[in-house]
Amino acid sequence: MNPVNWVRSGEESKEFLSGNPPYHDRASFPIPGVILLDLNLPDVDSFELLGWIRRKFPSGGLLIVVLTRPEEIRMINRAYSLGANSFLTKPSHQEQLQELVHIFGGYWLLSNHTTEPNALVSSSLVNHFQPNPHEHN
């Protein structure tokens, strides 16, 4: 089973994490141990979403890694204070983005100890991360 699921928007993130259709089958769409959350989602206030996730899932049950643009580095403190576990900035090239996701996966899914060994990537840039968004076989 691929330990990474992908969603493109804030609403989709909420539906996934709430287990609402089409994500109601927890065998296929398990609650992740770690989420890579893009702060530049098109449809939500990302900090509101970050707060929503943290209220719904206590820190011990879900780790949050925030992803944002380099020029928004001033958001680091706010993200950490809202319960983010780590903060990443987006590279400008697709290859570097894929490398960043590779490092993210290696660190959080292979080395770090989590309660659930799977991840959710929440970003409108899903197509840049991997060729088949929503794939979870």
Partner: protein, 159 residues
Amino acid sequence: MSTIDLVLIAEDNPDDALLLRRAIDKAGINARVKIVNDGEEMLLYLQGRGAYSNRATAPLPSLIILDLKMPRKSGLEVLQWINDNPEVAIVPTIVLSASNLEKDVRAAYNLGANTYFVKPSTFDELVETMRMVEKYWHKAARLRPDPASVSASPFLGGA
């Protein structure tokens, strides 16, 4: 890229502390390393009290590595204090513990630990863990704001 200037480590076992310092060196983490003996001393350091009252010589660290089971003050007590003090809570805290019990892992995360590693059983594995720490927290993740460092890292888009 974030610069790791200072790694503050709380480790009560002198042998483990020495191994950790060597593993950090071998992993290529080019930073000063300060090891304190227990949770109480780490709190003194972070609070800037006693021997650590001068921030010029005892600055806030870039990273904290913390054991859970320590005398005087446990790692969880240290995490609780860090969690209650926002100016310190922005420093990423790595728990390095022999325990893989889910209750310990959850408790550490609930108190604000950024990441949790189960202590490896061999030195080579410890070096590999520190390499992952270097690769992630130095080359990929962002530490505290440092506008001057928004520069040439390919991960920051400045290359």
